[in-house]
């Protein structure tokens, strides 16, 4: 069998036909949506009733059965203690972070858990938000596989632009647990802009106002000839439509306590009041008033709410979003008059008061022609296709929050300011303050405030093995890199001795490697074989790369080899092909290594020829394509 030969640099994945579909997933606080783009056509994947929304709600039955979505949400009324909702609010959060939220969350926290990631107690189980999110993603994956009729194993998953590093890592971990390879984490507003930009071929500056169930994001993007450049982004990872439900629920519970003369409020009452609050909010988006009943343990209370009262309850939250919009405009040095359009995203933008206030602030009617619940998933699906098949569009995103390190006195020194285009790498030099000091603690934080304790602690690590020197003599260069997913890695190097330090960043609120390994073992569908499949796939991609590279070299410089040498290389190539097709990971690695050895002399002769040609005055620019940016963008 011959492998398909492709243009250099156009290598597709080996066994492309074996690969499952790549989808776009909007993993929301309240609802999740999945969409797929094939051949430029995007479809939102729906259930039998035509609904795109999968409620991000998971019920953990006493018998170990896990239900997700609409069925789980129904349980919320009958069996609230087995149900987890709005778990996205806890992604990447520590125990201390959620203390402030205690009482307002519709589930019980494991108070015993110390440090690290927060844990929930449901139906006798202790669960991390990552595991609950993985359960949601499994249901999303199942919906997509049912709709498409084939396996789905890769996805673009959207996150709020304002998600910090810990929350992004947690999302990626959840996908891994659910058996999904994350092609890219894309910011929700950017995905929404992608969905609009492609439809409208718009150019200029756009604002994306994204008010979801639990998060608020505002992003300013410039769209130009298929490039989506994020200029500035801001928001609040704990502000959303849920807050409106809470405000109504609190008002109802206060009424109820008064009318029934009760003092204590049970968790069941909170959950039902929240569900009623949501219904009231949705109802008041269309009607001027309504009446609702809350009935628990045979005790019924009646609650009346009119639009005016609701809007007074909602106003503080909406004003907060407007303040954040203003801040982002200031950050970017952009006036309201420079904005060409405002895009509305998120179910909470259905509230008429929100639309009115946004229109008033930006001085124009916002765009909402794509369903605000589905627009993010549509953008994610488009990006999934762009990443796997290719595309003319390009997303250029930024860091949402400044990254810094703790210095003397608990003051933050910013290393990467917010709104810096990613990927980015920046280095900072440190020195020792004691003679012979051989280790140093580095504390990485994320946030805009001056003091460490007002920022989010991302990681602490010890840089050890510093050679003994006088105080101030060591020069330790710490490099902070943020990749295209917005994830941070840190590396360090001592400049005087050149000693490179392996730095493992242990996220303050993430899962440890052990915990992750344990969870992967626990999850029945994807345990060892998941890891092995991944490693085999990587080895194959790498082997195909070297296969094509050698073929390309033979085509250009084959005349440097004798017939026997050519035959030997061809044999090695065939060996690699066979291993890619039939072999396990070791076979592939061995065959690739053998090819490398077999082509060593060939490579030397090619270099010699190149140098001879250069000495003979031939331009070396024929030896590689240095692009002219303007040409390729035309």
């Amino acid at each position: 069998m011959l492998l398909q030969i492709n243009e250099p640099g156009e290598t597709p994945l080996p066994h492309a036909e074996d690969k499952g579909a790549a989808v776009g997933i909007d993993l929301g606080t309240t609802n999740s949506v999945v969409a797929v783009t094939e051949g430029g056509q995007t479809s939102v994947l729906r259930d039998g009733q035509g609904s795109a929304l999968i409620p991000s709600v998971v019920a953990y039955g006493e018998d170990g059965e896990i239900t997700v979505g609409t069925d789980a949400r129904r349980e919320l009324l009958d069996n609230p203690e087995v149900v987890v909702s709005s778990v996205k609010r806890l992604m990447g959060r520590g125990v201390a972070d959620v203390k402030s939220l205690a009482g307002t969350l519709p589930f019980e926290l494991d108070e015993a858990a110390e440090g690290g990631m927060v844990r929930l107690r449901v139906s006798g189980k202790t669960l991390t938000p990552v595991e609950v999110s993985a359960d949601i993603l499994r249901a999303v994956k199942a919906r997509a596989e049912k709709a498409l009729g084939r396996p789905v194993d890769r996805a673009v998953i959207t996150v709020p632009a304002y998600f910090d590093d810990a929350a992004r890592s947690a999302t990626k971990d959840a996908a891994r647990l659910a058996g999904l390879e994350v092609l890219r984490l894309v910011n929700e507003p950017t995905a929404a802009a992608l969905a609009y930009g492609l439809d409208n071929q718009s150019e200029g500056l756009y604002a994306v106002y994204d008010l979801g169930g639990g998060t608020f994001d505002i992003s300013l993007l410039r769209m130009e000839k298929g490039v989506f450049q994020v200029r500035a982004t801001g928001g609040d990872a704990a502000l959303g439509g849920d807050d409106l439900d809470h405000a109504i629920a609190e008002a109802f519970l206060a009424d109820r306590a008064k009318s029934l003369g009760e003092v204590t409020i049970t968790s069941a009452e909170v959950k039902q009041a929240l569900a009623t609050g949501r219904m009231a909010k949705e109802c008041l988006s269309a009607s001027p008033w309504g009446e609702w009943l809350i009935e628990i343990d045979g005790k019924t209370s009646r609650h009346h709410l009119d639009l005016k009262t609701f809007e007074a309850l909602a106003a503080p939250f909406i004003e907060r979003t407007i303040t954040l919009c203003h801040g982002v405009l200031v950050d970017a040095g952009i006036g309201v008059e420079d904005i060409k359009g405002v895009v509305l995203v998120g179910g909470s933008t259905r509230v008429p008061q929100v639309r009115r206030r946004v229109a008033e602030f930006f001085g124009r009617e916002p765009l909402a022609d794509i369903n605000p619940d589905e627009v993010v998933a549509v953008g994610a699906a488009l990006q999934a296709e762009a990443l796997t098949v290719g595309s003319d569009t390009l997303l250029l995103d930024v860091t949402p929050l400044s990254l810094g390190i703790e210095t003397m006195g608990g003051i933050v020194e910013k290393v990467i300011p917010r709104n810096t285009p990613i990927p980015v790498a920046m280095a900072q030099e440190f020195t020792t303050y004691q003679d012979g000091q051989d280790a140093m603690l580095i504390h990485v934080v994320q946030g805009e405030r001056e003091m460490v304790d007002q920022c989010r602690s991302l990681a602490r690590f010890v840089l050890s093995g510093i050679p003994a020197m006088a105080a101030g003599a060591a020069r330790i260069r710490v490099t902070f890199s943020v990749d295209a997913d917005g994830l941070l890695t840190v590396s360090a190097r001592e400049a005087v001795t050149g000693i490179e330090q392996e730095v493992s960043v242990k996220p303050s609120y993430g899962l440890t490697d052990d915990e992750m390994a344990h969870m992967l073992r626990e999850s029945l569908e994807h345990a060892r074989e998941d890891m092995e499949t991944r490693l085999l796939a990587e080895a194959r991609v790498e082997a195909v790369r070297s296969l094509l590279a050698v073929r390309a070299a033979l085509a250009v410089d084959g005349d440097l080899l004798s017939t026997a040498e050519q035959a030997a290389i061809h044999a090695a190539l065939e060996h690699v092909e066979t291993a890619i097709r039939d072999g396990n990971r070791d076979d592939v690695l061995d065959a690739a290594a053998a090819l490398e050895t077999e082509t060593k002399t060939f490579a030397e002769r090619r270099m010699d020829r190149g140098i001879r040609n250069a000495l003979a005055g031939q331009s070396v620019d024929g030896l590689g394509e240095r692009l002219d940016g303007a040409k390729s963008s035309g």
């Binding site: 890219r184 303040t323 997303l395 060939f602 070396v620 394509e625 692009l627 940016g629 963008s633």
Partner: protein, 214 residues
């Protein structure tokens, strides 16, 4: 304004092996001509990286066009299904492009960078001591005026004044670099740093007074 073909040919003599097919390539190549593999970003100046002629005067639209054009080919999104090594190299390339773009886009960073290329150092991050008495006087006066201003009108006037001074200063920087007067360029860069800070302070005070909500 682009680097012409011969500019690059005459400045790069050495030949390096492509990491993928091991064949000879120019150290400045982005992709190997033989096997098409993306190459490491290499150590070149920000202007060359974006295919621009070195100099203070920059057409922002051209800078954007060049930056977008290079990112279109080198951004990690173009390598999402490639081998880990190619992904890593594309990330380094995109990182280098972002650094070049961020430096050249900003008038102050661009000036400091040009001075650094010319072997002069102006530290725009640290609060260096001002030795120029005239600048010291000017900065103090403007700061005082800003501290005393308490109505929106007064602050708006001061903010506009500071912006105008910034624009003038950028003009004189342009002139200094064009005539290769590096002493003047150094002084103007320090001045631009202070003016920029003042303008920002005035702007943020103005914004605080006009901010909606609480």
């Amino acid at each position: 304004m682009f680097m012409s073909e011969f500019d690059q040919a005459t400045t790069s003599g050495a030949i390096v092996p492509c990491w993928s097919c091991k064949g000879p390539i120019s150290p400045r190549a982005l992709f190997c001509a033989t096997c098409g593999a993306v190459q490491p970003p290499g150590n070149i100046d920000h202007f060359s990286r974006l295919g621009l002629r070195s100099g203070y005067a920059i057409d922002p639209a051209l800078l954007d066009r060049q930056y977008f054009g290079f990112q279109r080919r080198l951004h990690p999104d173009r390598f999402a299904t490639r081998s880990p090594k190619e992904k890593a190299l594309s990330q380094s390339q995109a990182t280098a492009l972002n650094e070049a773009y961020e430096t050249l886009k900003d008038p102050l960073k661009r000036a400091a960078y040009l001075l650094r290329l010319a072997g002069r150092s102006v530290d725009i991050e640290q609060a260096a001591t001002v030795t120029d008495p005239e600048l010291l006087m000017e900065a103090m006066e403007m700061r005082e005026a800003l501290a005393e201003a308490d109505t929106l009108e007064e602050i708006t006037v001061l903010a506009a004044q500071a912006e105008a001074e910034v624009a003038l200063c950028e003009g004189s920087l342009n002139e200094a670099f064009a005539t290769e007067d590096l002493d003047a360029a150094g002084r103007a860069t320090t001045r631009l740093k202070y003016l920029g800070k003042l303008a920002e302070e005035a702007r943020s005070r103005k914004n605080r007074m006009t901010r909606p909500g609480i």
